[in-house]
């Protein structure tokens, strides 16, 4: 017997807020999270700006600061988001003997978690020391000697992508099935989708699911700049993320963490937990096309959307709102529009579709969950978040992107789309909870 799966908690740490209500208020107001990059001196990079999480204070979320302080930047964000989500859901954290009635062996974790930044204080210097430029080769002996005396054990270990989940396990005592996946920009959507399947099939009663990522560092910015994926509108960071416009020139690199609590309806009822929404569908596919590009006919995206609709047992006509991947890159926005047109047919232009990335940037692995939370809020408040900076629509992209201001309308069923570099497509469908 399949379980119904509901969401009983949500938490976020992102460039426009360190909690869900603040994020939502800023999103509706279009208060951009972009500014000049401060985590390192990016002033000479092709893209000098990003969407950073500023003034984050981990000690607000944990009593065991010593245990978590070695964690990487995104791990700290993740602890913040998970602590909020658990608190909202009534899951006790940092408790040796929790009295919340939850069986820890049936509570798991599934994060779309990124790798941590390299140890920027030493990583580059050790290369400088060990590189023999005359012979164009590395002196490994020198590298080893320098590295062993300068690198720190915990800074190295904490870079592993398994670490955010590790910290969340210690925070919550979760002993149930746990995984971390990393499918680029689709990671946390995929994590939530597979976690949803684990609750649905009874493998777990509760899954703490979401994502955490930060790539605002010299190697991350380099990698995306070389792919020409980032906007270089350095003179106007706040208007740089402009999905679906004719002048879009790339995404704005963001960072953060977002977590939702997925729970079987039975478990939620038994605990009298407040139900925020019901998750009713998940679809997943692979492009199998090119390493560098999305399939030109939107083949994989269409397959994932259709799989999610089928899984949810709803028609495209039932979807009130599409939360797009909407990255503001030339390719994504045009292929995504193509996919929506193919699946939604005559309803394509009547189905509002917006991109929160226009306000908080692209949180990479964490972005899908952050945007799913905006869908929960859209359902709660019957309000659609806008696509900001949409002043010169691309004539080819002629859907209802909810331009520039939020909209009051009935929202009962929302769809979240995420597409990753390398062709992983993941789609979730969320519904207002109704007995």
């Amino acid at each position: 017997m399949n379980q119904r799966v509901v969401i009983t908690g949500s938490g976020i740490v992102c460039p426009i807020g360190h909690d869900v209500e603040t994020m939502w208020k800023n999103l509706l107001a279009g208060n951009s999270g972009m500014d000049k990059t401060t985590t390192f001196d990016a002033s000479t990079c092709p893209a000098t700006f990003s969407a950073e999480v500023k003034d984050f204070d981990l000690s607000k979320y944990t009593k065991n600061i010593d245990l978590h302080k070695t964690g990487n930047r995104h791990t700290a964000f993740c602890i913040g988001a998970a602590a909020q989500a658990c608190t909202q859901a009534g899951i006790q954290i940092e408790s040796d003997r929790p009295t919340d009635g939850i069986d820890r062996r049936k509570m798991g974790i599934y994060l779309g978690a990124g790798e941590g930044s390299v140890d920027n204080d030493h990583f580059f210097d050790v290369l400088v020391q060990a590189w023999n430029d005359n012979e164009r080769q590395m002196d490994w002996k020198k590298w080893g000697d320098y590295a062993f005396s300068n690198f720190s054990e915990m800074k190295e270990l904490e870079q592993e992508p398994v670490m955010p989940a590790s910290h969340i396990a210690m925070l919550t005592g979760a002993r149930g099935p746990s995984r971390s996946c990393l499918t680029a920009c689709a990671a946390s959507t995929q994590a939530i989708g597979e976690a949803y399947m684990m609750v649905r099939s009874g493998k777990a009663n509760i899954m703490i699911a979401g994502g955490a990522h930060s790539m605002i560092h010299p190697l991350g910015v380099m990698g995306f700049c070389r792919l020409t994926a980032l906007s270089t509108r350095n003179d106007s960071p706040k208007t740089a993320s402009r999905p679906f416009t004719a002048s879009r020139d790339g995404f704005v690199l963001g960072e953060g963490a977002a977590v939702v609590i997925l729970e079987s309806l039975d478990s939620a009822k038994k605990r009298n937990a407040k139900i925020l929404a019901e998750l009713i569908g998940f679809g997943s596919s692979g492009d199998a096309f090119r390493v560098t590009d999305m399939h030109e006919d939107a083949r994989g995206a269409v397959q994932a959307i259709e799989a999610a609709l089928k899984d949810a047992n709803v028609s495209y006509k039932d979807i009130d709102y599409i939360s797009t991947h909407g990255t503001s890159t030339a390719e994504n926005d045009s292929i995504e529009t193509k996919a929506i047109k193919k699946v939604f047919k005559e309803e394509a232009k009547n189905t509002p579709a917006s991109s929160p990335k226009s306000v908080f940037g692209h949180l990479i692995g964490a972005t899908g969950c952050a945007e799913l939370i905006t869908c929960i809020m859209a359902i709660r408040d019957n309000t659609l978040p806008p696509t900001m900076n949409l002043n010169d629509p691309d004539p080819e992209l002629d859907l209802d992107f909810v331009p520039n201001k939020p909209r009051k309308t009935d929202v009962n069923i929302a769809m979240k789309e995420s597409f990753g570099f390398g062709g992983q497509n993941n789609v979730l469908i969320l519904k207002r909870f109704d007995e």
């Binding site: 000479t44 790798e115 398994v162 010299p218 199998a288 390398g422 062709g423």
Partner: protein, 440 residues
């Protein structure tokens, strides 16, 4: 929705013991040891100078024409995965676009992929020439990085190192269009990828899935990380006896590289195409370490115990049904002891009787590939009715009551249990069953 049965219809492995699963089997059953002094880089500045390295192979030979150009985007991890995937698919009798585009017998949309991958570390000697252009006063200068450094890196650099890229390349080569995921739970990753791929099939999101793991830990930064974490042996003078799982003289592990892949398939689908069924995947379980010392398995082995208990329950069997245990057995004394305690607590007295076959003393710890390699070894043990000899276990460590199989033994294996865990805390257990030809 009734859940569907999942069977193994193909497998492949590229390991330090050789580039095919047959090489793996021959090596393991002869107690050959592939651990040696590191060749990929000069390890003289490292506390552990040993590694398990895969013998030379030419990646071009394993790529179909239409994907040969992409070879330059394949870091070592991806190459290993591509080779293991090719063997697994050929052995399954499935014909994909990458095997023969004129004879395809697979429905691409019903074909999933799920790969356990490590954090892929960039090739430092590829990065260094760019970094070398960014020096001011003998220090790295971030300002110069923005101007001179970034522009001298190859444009697709990032795509070489994303952990979802092994699955991406394999999906392109074999035209796998179903659900596509990459699990990044370090040494527990492969089991979790196999578990998830099986659930994708059992819930009817696909009929076939390629699942396994890949990792290339013979990279300076990965080795450094293991050494700094105190997980490696410093006994460098005798590579053959360096890694000693569950042995009283164990001093730490040795790291290496490899990949192994399985073809998982819905039972009905496999029978409809008369595929050879090697084993059935009947149970899986996982849990988490929650101890603050998350570098190691918690001392009471609770999380490995829970994973095994969950897998037994999932399979609907008891400890007495198990005929073979493939433990994680990493050669780090406190982790091995914790694992032994976890297994003993989960299986009770049966743990002291069931033959237990650790393989890392021969292979090294191949990161995210290790769990998949052990599953391939278990499947081959089942097929051959043979359990190979464990190597370097001369005196069992105190507290370890496992029945380590130190001599080769013929045995009919009905159920095999494979365990894995990782720093950071994921624990896993998989239960394989010899296929009995019965359809429920």
């Amino acid at each position: 929705m009734t859940s569907r049965r999942v069977v193994i219809t193909g497998f492949g492995a590229i390991t330090p013991l050789g580039i095919t699963s047959n090489d793996l089997w021959t090596g393991l059953t002869n107690a050959s040891c592939a651990i040696d002094t590191t060749k990929a880089f000069d390890p003289s500045g490292f506390t552990c100078k040993l590694a398990g390295e895969v013998p030379d192979f030419k990646i071009q030979k394993h790529l179909p024409k239409f994907h040969r150009k992409a070879a330059k985007l394949m870091c070592r991890d991806i190459q290993l995965a591509v080779v293991a995937a090719e063997e697994a698919i050929i052995s399954s009798g499935l014909i994909t676009k990458g095997i023969d585009p004129d004879k395809i017998n697979v429905d691409s949309e019903r074909f999933a992929i799920n790969i356990g991958a490590g954090v892929i570390c960039c090739e430092l000697d590829e990065l260094s020439p760019a970094v070398a252009k960014c020096i001011t006063n003998n220090k790295f200068d971030t300002k110069k990085w923005g101007t001179d450094g970034i522009s001298s890196i190859t444009p697709l650099w990032l795509l070489k190192y994303l952990p979802n890229m092994p699955a991406c390349h394999i999906a392109i080569i074999h035209d796998i269009q179903g659900p596509n995921n990459s699990i990044v739970c370090a040494e527990a990753a492969a089991h979790l990828a196999i578990t998830e791929a099986a659930s994708v099939i059992s819930r009817n999101s696909a009929d076939i899935a390629l699942a396994g793991g890949c990792d290339a830990k013979v990279n300076a930064i990965m080795m450094l990380r293991q050494c700094l974490a105190g997980r490696t042996t410093t006994q460098n003078d005798d590579p053959q006896t360096a890694l000693r799982p569950f042995d009283a003289d164990a001093k730490g592990s040795v790291f290496g590289e490899g990949s192994a892949m399985l073809v998982l398939e819905d039972l009905q689908h496999a029978q409809d195409r008369n595929a050879t069924i090697h084993a059935e995947l009947v149970g899986s379980g996982s849990s988490n370490n929650i101890d603050p010392s998350y570098k190691h398995l918690e001392a009471d082995g609770k999380s490995i115990q829970y994973a095994i208990e969950n897998a037994l329950e999932d399979a609907g069997i008891t400890a007495e049904d198990i005929d073979l245990i493939m433990p994680h057995g990493i050669g780090i004394p406190q982790d091995d002891l914790a694992e032994a305690i976890g297994i003993q607590n989960a299986l009770g007295n049966a743990a002291e009787k069931i033959p237990t076959w650790p393989t890392k003393s021969m292979l090294s710890t191949t990161g995210a590939a290790s769990g998949a390699i052990d599953v391939v070894a278990a499947v081959m043990a089942m097929k051959n009715g043979l359990i190979g000899p464990a190597k370097n276990i001369d005196n069992k460590a105190a507290g370890c009551k496992l029945n380590i199989s130190t001599k080769p033994q013929q045995k009919d294996i009905r159920y095999a249990l494979c365990c894995s865990y990782t720093f950071g805390g994921n624990t896993t257990a998989l239960i394989l069953k010899k296929f009995d030809g019965q359809v429920k």
